[in-house]
C-alpha cells in the first residue's frame, strides 16, 4: 500500500486522535484533581479466614466479627480498656435491686435501609437473640423486655446478675441491633442491614466481602475519636473490601505490591524481614491468644493430680512459646492480660517451672507405669501444632510416654468430646480472656467442663464470681478461681501470643484491636 494514498486522511485521523487524546487527558487531570480532594475510592483489607456467616448472632468466629462489627452496632459495648460504654444507648440505668435495666436510645440513628431505629427494633433484636443466638444464655435471666416509648427499652430480670452489663456488652456473639422485621429469621438468614458506618454491598465467597460507606451514618459525637468498638467513627473511603486471602505468603506479597492496604496476621519471619522497609508499617496486637492445653481429668494417667503436676512443672514455657510463635509472645501466668483491672498472678508458683527432674520424682511418687499420654493438636493452626511438638519432646524428656495425634480442626474439635481420645488438647483462648474474667476460661465450669470431670470447687467459685456484688469481691474470687485452675491443673497455660499486623506506611490512624477497625483510618 502506497504510503501517500491515505496520506491526507491518515494525517487528519492522527491529528484528530491526538486532539481527542489531549482533551481526554485534560479532562482526566481535572477530575483527578477533584477526586484527590474527596475520599479515596477503596480501602482493601486482607483477612485470613472466610467468614462462615455474616449473621453476628450465629457465630463466635473472628472472621465474622471483623466484618459484622463494621456493619452492625450494639446498645452497649467495650471501650479501648475493655470497660463497658454505651454505643446506640444514650444512657443506661440499673435499678437499686439490680432487677431492672432501663436503656434510653439515641435519636436519629438510621438503618442502612433508611428507616430510623426505634425501641421496636431493639426489642425485636433482643427477642431474636434470646431465641437463637449462640450466647442466648446471656438473656436467660431476662423475663420481660418492654418498649414504653419509641426511645426507651426496659429489661426485667428474675434475679440479680451483677455482671449483666458485662455480659450484654460482650463481643463474642454481639447483640447487634437489627431491623424489627428480622426477628423471625433463622440463623444465617438475615438481611444484612445494620446501623454501622459501613453498608453491605456483596459477598463473593473465596474472594471478598465488599462494603460501602453509609452516607447517613449517625456519628456518635460523645467521643473525640476511636474508642474500642464505639466512639466517633468516620469512614474516609467510598468502599471497603475485605479480601479473603488464606495463604499468609500471598497476604504479605499483596501488601508489598500495594494490592492491600492493611493485612491481618503477618507471619513473624515476614515481619522480621519487613522491619526495615520504609513502605511498610508494622503493628503488634498484644494478647491475641492465650496459648495452652486442656487437661483431661477422666483419662489415665492425667486423672491423678500428681501426674498433672508433673506435667505442669516439666514444661519450659519459653522454649514452647519461642518456637511456636517465632518470638511473638509474652510469658505471664495470668488468665487475664496485664493492664486489665482483674489481672492477678495467683498460681504463678506452678508456672514455667522448667523442672523435668522434679517431674520425674512426682511421676515415680504417683506410681506412673508408662501409660501413654495422648496429645491432640491440629494442622490448621500452626502455632498450636508447633507448641504441641515442643511440649511433647519436653514431656518425653521428663519421663512421659507420649503419643501425638494431629487432626484437621474439625476432626480435632470432634475428638475433644471423646473423653477416651486425649489427655492434652492444644488450643488458644483469645476472645474469652479479652472479654473479661467471666469469660476467661469459663469452659472449665460445668456443664462445658473441657477437662471432662466436673470440679465442684471451680463451679462454686464461678458461681461466686458472677454474683459478686462489688468489684473487690469479684476480683478476690477471680484470684481464687485462677489459683484453683493452677492447683488442680484444669488448664495448662503456656504464654500470650502477640499477633502481627501490617499496613502500607501511607495508612494513618490504624490502631490494632480485637477487630481491625477501619474507621478513622486514612491513606495519604
Amino acid at each position: 500500500m502506497s504510503p501517500l494514498r491515505f496520506g491526507r486522511q491518515a494525517r487528519t485521523a492522527i491529528a484528530a486522535t491526538f486532539a481527542s487524546g489531549a482533551l481526554l487527558c485534560a479532562g482526566l487531570a481535572a477530575s483527578g484533581a477533584a477526586l484527590a480532594q474527596q475520599r479515596l475510592p477503596m480501602m482493601v483489607f486482607a483477612q485470613e479466614a472466610p467468614p462462615p456467616t455474616l449473621d453476628p448472632y450465629f457465630s463466635t468466629s473472628v472472621s465474622t466479627r471483623n466484618i459484622a462489627m463494621h456493619i452492625f452496632e450494639t446498645l452497649i459495648t467495650r471501650d479501648e480498656n475493655n470497660a463497658v460504654i454505651p454505643q446506640l444507648a444514650a444512657s443506661v440505668d440499673e435499678s437499686a435491686d439490680g432487677l431492672t435495666y432501663t436503656f434510653k436510645l439515641r435519636r436519629g440513628v438510621k438503618f442502612h435501609n433508611g428507616k430510623e431505629m426505634t425501641s421496636a427494633d431493639v426489642k425485636a433484636s433482643m427477642e431474636r437473640y434470646k431465641r437463637m443466638a449462640l450466647q442466648k444464655v446471656i438473656l436467660a435471666p431476662v423475663t420481660a423486655i418492654e418498649a414504653p416509648d419509641a426511645h426507651t427499652i426496659v429489661m426485667r430480670l428474675d434475679k440479680r446478675v451483677p455482671a449483666f452489663l458485662d455480659e450484654l456488652s460482650s463481643f463474642v456473639t454481639p447483640l447487634a441491633i437489627l431491623p424489627a422485621d428480622q426477628a423471625s429469621r433463622d440463623g444465617g438468614k438475615i438481611d444484612i442491614i445494620g446501623t454501622g458506618p459501613l453498608q453491605f454491598v456483596e459477598w463473593k465467597p473465596d474472594s471478598h466481602v465488599r462494603l460501602k460507606r453509609f452516607a447517613d451514618y449517625a456519628v456518635d459525637t460523645r467521643d473525640k475519636g476511636t474508642n474500642g468498638f464505639a466512639g466517633r467513627k468516620e469512614i474516609h473511603f467510598e468502599q471497603v473490601d475485605f479480601k479473603l486471602v488464606k495463604d499468609p505468603g500471598a497476604r504479605v506479597a499483596g501488601l508489598e505490591s500495594g494490592q492491600f492496604h492493611i493485612i491481618e496476621d503477618l507471619p513473624v519471619p515476614a515481619a522480621k524481614r519487613l522491619a526495615g522497609n520504609p513502605k511498610i508499617a508494622l503493628y503488634d496486637l498484644k494478647n491475641w491468644w492465650l496459648h495452652g492445653a486442656w487437661v483431661n481429668h477422666a483419662k489415665s494417667p492425667t486423672q491423678d493430680n500428681r501426674v498433672r503436676r508433673a506435667l505442669q512443672i516439666a514444661l519450659d514455657m519459653e522454649e514452647i512459646m519461642e518456637i511456636a510463635t517465632d518470638g511473638a509472645y509474652v510469658l505471664q501466668p495470668g488468665l487475664q492480660y496485664p493492664g486489665n483491672p482483674y489481672y492477678v498472678t495467683n498460681g504463678a508458683q506452678h508456672y514455667n517451672r522448667k523442672d523435668p527432674e522434679g517431674a520425674r520424682k512426682l511421676l515415680a511418687e504417683a506410681g506412673y507405669k508408662g501409660e501413654e499420654l495422648v496429645i491432640i493438636t491440629n494442622s490448621s493452626y500452626q502455632s498450636m501444632y508447633k507448641a504441641a511438638q515442643v511440649a511433647a519432646e519436653q514431656l518425653k524428656a521428663a519421663g512421659f510416654k507420649v503419643r501425638m495425634d494431629v487432626f484437621d480442626w474439625a476432626t480435632a474439635m470432634a475428638r475433644r468430646r471423646d473423653a477416651n481420645a486425649w489427655n492434652l488438647w492444644f488450643t488458644g483462648q483469645g476472645t474469652g480472656p479479652s472479654v473479661g474474667p467471666f469469660a476467661a476460661l469459663k469452659d472449665v465450669v460445668s456443664p462445658q467442663k473441657n477437662q471432662i470431670t466436673a470440679d465442684p470447687v471451680i463451679d462454686e467459685l464461678y458461681g461466686q464470681l458472677i454474683t459478686g456484688t462489688t468489684f473487690e469481691a469479684r476480683k478476690a474470687t477471680f484470684a481464687k478461681f485462677q489459683e484453683r485452675v493452677y492447683d488442680n491443673v484444669l488448664f495448662l497455660k503456656f504464654g500470650d501470643l502477640t499477633r502481627k499486623q501490617a499496613s502500607l506506611s501511607t495508612v494513618k490512624g490504624f490502631v490494632p484491636y480485637r477487630i481491625p477497625r477501619l474507621w478513622n483510618v486514612r491513606v495519604e
Partner: protein
C-alpha cells in the same frame, strides 16, 4: 517375579543390566534404599531432638544440611524420613498388587463379575485421586497405616484394570480355551495360565505405583492428613518448611529433592523393565 524369569530366556538379566536407564534408576533407587536401611548409621543426631539455641542453622559440620525451626538436624530427619516414606510406598505396592490382581483376574476371567467389579473400579477412578485419599485418610485418622489404606484405595482400580486387560487377552488364547473346555478348575487355570502371563504389565505398573505412592504420601503429609509427627516423612518436612519458604528455603528444598530422586529412580526402573519385558507394552500403557 523369579518364576517368570525362570521361564524366560536367561538373557533377561543381561538385557536389564545393559539397559542404561534401568541401571541409572536402579542406582538412584538403591541409594535411597540404602539411606533408609542404614539411617541409624548415617544420621548424626536423633531426628526428633530439638536444639532450642540452634534453630535455622545453615549447613555446617555439626548439621550437614542445617537445622529447621525446632533446631532439629535436617540431614538426620532426611535419612530417617526415607524409612517411613519408602515403607509406605512399599506397603502400598503390596496391598495394591494383591488387591488389584485379585480383582483384575476375577473381572477378566469371570464374565459375570466383570460388570459390577469394573463399575466399582470406574466409580473409584472418577474421584480426583488426591481427594479420595484425603477423604479416606481424614475418615480413618492420620497414621502411616491409614495412609497406606487410602493410597491403596486410589491405586487398586488402576492396577485392576491393567491386570484385567491382560487377563482378557490371555483368556481368549487357544490353550486356555482348551483347558476350560476340558473341565479344568477355574482356580487352577487362573493360577497356572492367566496369572503368570499377566505379570509383566503388573510388575511394570507396580514400580510406577511405588513412585506415585511416595509422591502421594508427601502430598497427604503436606495437607496435614499423613503420618503424624514427630516421625519425619519427607512430606511433613516440606509442610513444616512451607511457613519459612522465603526466610529458610532449605527446609523444604532437601526433602523435595529426595522425593524427586526416589520417584525418578523408580520411574527409570519401571521404564527399563517395560522396555525389556515386553516392548509391546510401550504403546498400550498410558
Amino acid at each position: 517375579m523369579a518364576e517368570a524369569e525362570a521361564r524366560r530366556p536367561p538373557s533377561l538379566t543381561r538385557r536389564l543390566f545393559s539397559h542404561r536407564l534401568f541401571v541409572t534408576g536402579l542406582v538412584l533407587f538403591g541409594i535411597v534404599v540404602a539411606m533408609a536401611v542404614f539411617a541409624d548409621l548415617l544420621a548424626t543426631a536423633a531426628p526428633e531432638k530439638m536444639n532450642f539455641r540452634a534453630r535455622f542453622r545453615t549447613p555446617e559440620w555439626a548439621f550437614l544440611l542445617g537445622t529447621d525451626n525446632y533446631g532439629r538436624d535436617i540431614w538426620s530427619r532426611l535419612v530417617h524420613g526415607a524409612r517411613l516414606s519408602l515403607a509406605i510406598g512399599f506397603a502400598v505396592v503390596i496391598v495394591t498388587g494383591v488387591a488389584g490382581t485379585v480383582i483384575g483376574l476375577l473381572a477378566g476371567y469371570f464374565k459375570r463379575l466383570d460388570g459390577p467389579l469394573m463399575r466399582t473400579m470406574d466409580a473409584l477412578m472418577a474421584f480426583p485421586a488426591i481427594l479420595l485419599a484425603i477423604a479416606i485418610a481424614a475418615a480413618l485418622g492420620p497414621s502411616a497405616v491409614n495412609a497406606v489404606i487410602a493410597l491403596s484405595a486410589v491405586y487398586t482400580p488402576r492396577t485392576a484394570r491393567i491386570v484385567r486387560s491382560a487377563a482378557l487377552v490371555v483368556r481368549e488364547m487357544d490353550y486356555v480355551q482348551a483347558a476350560i473346555a476340558s473341565g479344568s478348575r477355574h482356580m487352577w487355570i487362573l493360577w497356572r495360565h492367566i496369572l503368570p502371563n499377566s505379570l509383566a504389565p503388573l510388575i511394570v505398573q507396580l514400580t510406577f505405583i511405588f513412585a506415585y505412592a511416595v509422591l502421594a504420601e508427601s502430598i497427604l503429609s503436606f495437607l496435614g492428613v499423613g503420618p503424624p509427627p514427630p516421625t519425619p516423612t519427607w512430606g511433613n518436612m516440606i509442610a513444616e518448611g512451607q511457613g519459612y519458604l522465603r526466610e529458610a528455603p532449605l527446609l523444604a528444598l532437601f526433602p523435595g529433592i529426595a522425593i524427586a530422586v526416589t520417584a525418578l529412580g523408580l520411574n527409570l526402573l519401571g521404564d527399563g523393565l517395560r522396555d525389556v519385558l515386553d516392548p509391546r507394552l510401550r504403546v498400550q500403557h498410558g
